[in-house]
């Protein structure tokens, strides 16, 4: 029972070592931000992200999620930069203080393609990667078990918290809590919701940490791993390769090659 976007399916992309996918995602994002050419970002979306989504059978989810998350941002971006770009010189149309400029639209295209690449790459990783396996494999690569604990535990308690918050909210509303009126009053109305949530957090935490300590959580022993995540040589090489490309693109970018 987790809240992540992960969809349990069987595909080549799903079977990749989670670290490989994470490294690929971060490298692609860095490449897109380093190169700063809009058609490179769009090319990566069309030739890498979309095929990966289709192969992994997550295309539908990716489409609906990206419409929900990206579309509002892209619309605001086009309106904002398309209409209000004082630095622009090539004016296409003018409505009072708003001026549609070629520079503004190009700017929106550049930024928009990068945001789209960032969001879509992250979504493909999240849709195809079991968070448990991601944590296990990161721990095997040297990430602190404490980090893995915090992330895994949070993912698993959020649904319970949500349920608790909703039931507190309903109970408060039944007793006459009003979530209307001016913002300050509404914020004040949240207080009776937040206090019980936080009190619950205090009472449980001490017991939890006792139980964890009793099972050797801060043991100085070298930790071992129950689950071994397969990490074939080919993927290791692929990871180094894509990291090398990302680093090269950053260096070239800083040298001003992509201007």
């Amino acid at each position: 029972m987790t809240t992540t976007l992960y969809e349990d399916r069987e595909s080549v992309i799903h079977r990749l070592n989670p670290v490989t996918k994470l490294v690929a995602m971060l490298s692609i994002i860095i490449i897109v931000f380093a190169v700063q050419i809009w058609w490179v970002a769009l090319g990566i979306i069309v030739f890498v992200v979309v095929p990966a989504a289709v192969v992994s059978g997550t295309g539908g989810r990716l489409l609906s999620l990206s419409l929900k998350l990206l579309l509002p941002i892209l619309i605001v971006l086009v309106l904002l930069q398309g209409l209000f770009f004082p630095e622009g010189t090539t004016v296409l149309a003018e409505f009072g203080p708003a001026r549609v400029t070629v520079e503004g639209l190009m700017f929106a295209l550049g930024i928009g393609s990068r945001i789209a690449a960032l969001v879509l790459c992250s979504l493909v990783l999240l849709l195809t990667t079991n968070p448990a396996l991601l944590m296990t494999s990161l721990t095997q690569k040297g990430m602190s078990p404490k980090m893995s604990y915090v992330i895994s535990s949070t993912l698993q308690i959020i649904p319970a918290f949500h349920t608790r918050a909703q039931s507190i909210l309903l109970a408060q509303q039944a007793r006459g809590l009003r979530l209307k009126g001016n913002p300050l009053r509404r914020a004040g109305a949240l207080l009776p919701l937040v206090s019980p949530l936080v009190l619950g957090m205090f009472t449980d935490v001490e017991e939890r940490s006792t139980a964890m300590e009793a099972r050797g959580f801060s043991s100085p022993a070298t930790h071992t791993s129950f689950v071994i995540v397969d990490d074939p040589l080919g993927q290791k090489i692929a990871r180094w390769l894509i990291v090398a490309i990302a680093v090269t693109s950053v260096v070239l970018s800083l040298l001003g090659v992509f201007k």
Binding site: A34, L77, L80, I111, V150, A187, L190, L197, M201
Partner: protein
């Protein structure tokens, strides 16, 4: 395999170095983005600004998170997931009932005040990681802001801003201003000012009167962040004052820095109802009551 914990001292130094480098990278990134080359940005071409914003802020946040997690005791580690869940759940409810403020850092500030800046920084960073994993990846580039908020809440607690009810909103105001300054380059250089409908309209208004994009996102941030943090810090101080002081004083950070002020000292406990005389081999070990923070008449748990 995980790292061995044996060279504890070496790890301590390494972790300090991580935190220090992380902090330097974040500050350098901010200074570069703000003071960098305004002329270049003015033409609408950011040059390397967006690349430096994303790499500098992410790398700095990761280094601080990695460097701080090792030195936190298990009680704090167990607190962090719950605090993140509070951030996310309350943040979502706030958005769903249409509040114009975020209210997504209550847990981060609580942890900062109770367990210190390092714990606050970790809670902040991981809140955005989890927000990115569960709701929207757009939260990820803003992780640095959450780190800064957690750190500032910790120092506010250390400086005694939670000893008086009226001081907490002032700490919130300062935190909000700094948070706005830190996040505005992200909004400008990574998102082009388009972080959300309402925010976008405000940025557009500032742009329409001829401000640069960074100036516009900074003004927009200054309109929303300080208000949000004043309200959040007020909520946090109300919650903390309502807690029995024995809960609060369980945190070593609270005791060490008298986060909630000095309270009357207590004499050593006396054994009233002893059944038999103390045997000769009896030892007394006292740990953790060296602080002055005390609470008369509370009923201990059973």
């Amino acid at each position: 395999m995980s790292t061995s914990h044996k060279p504890v001292e070496a790890n301590k130094v390494r972790n300090r170095v991580f935190v220090a480098i992380g902090a330097v990278i974040i500050i350098a990134t901010y200074l570069y983005l703000v003071l960098g080359q305004p002329s270049e940005f003015a033409e609408g071409d950011f040059g390397q600004a967006s690349l430096i914003a994303i790499i500098g802020y992410l790398l700095g946040s990761v280094l601080i998170a990695v460097g701080t997690i090792h030195r936190l005791p298990t009680t704090t580690i167990a607190l962090v997931p719950v605090a993140i869940a509070v951030n996310i759940v309350v943040g979502q409810i706030s958005a769903s009932i249409g509040l114009p403020i975020y209210l997504d850092s209550i847990g981060t500030i609580l942890v900062g005040v109770l367990a210190g800046p390092a714990a606050g920084a970790l809670t902040g960073a991981l809140t955005n990681v989890i927000w990115g994993m569960t709701i929207s990846p757009i939260a990820l580039p803003f992780a640095v802001t959450a780190v800064v908020i957690g750190v500032l809440a910790g120092y506010a607690g250390r400086l005694g801003m939670f000893r008086r009810f009226y001081l907490a909103p002032i700490a919130g105001l300062i935190t909000g201003i700094i948070a706005a300054l830190v996040s505005s380059p992200i909004a400008a250089f990574i998102f082009g000012g388009a972080t959300g409908g309402g925010n976008g309209a405000i940025v557009a208004a500032f742009r329409a009167v001829g401000n640069s994009l960074l100036a516009s996102t900074t003004f927009q941030g200054l309109l929303s962040d300080p208000l949000d943090k004043v309200i959040t810090f007020t909520i946090v101080v109300i919650i903390l004052f309502a807690l029995p002081s024995r809960f609060r004083s369980r945190f070593p950070f609270v005791r060490e820095y008298n986060v909630f002020g000095k309270q009357s000292e207590l004499a050593a406990p006396t054994r009233a109802t002893r059944s038999g005389a103390a045997s000769t081999d009896t030892t007394t070990s006292t740990v953790g009551d060296d602080s002055a923070s005390a609470d008369n008449g509370t009923t201990p748990r059973g």
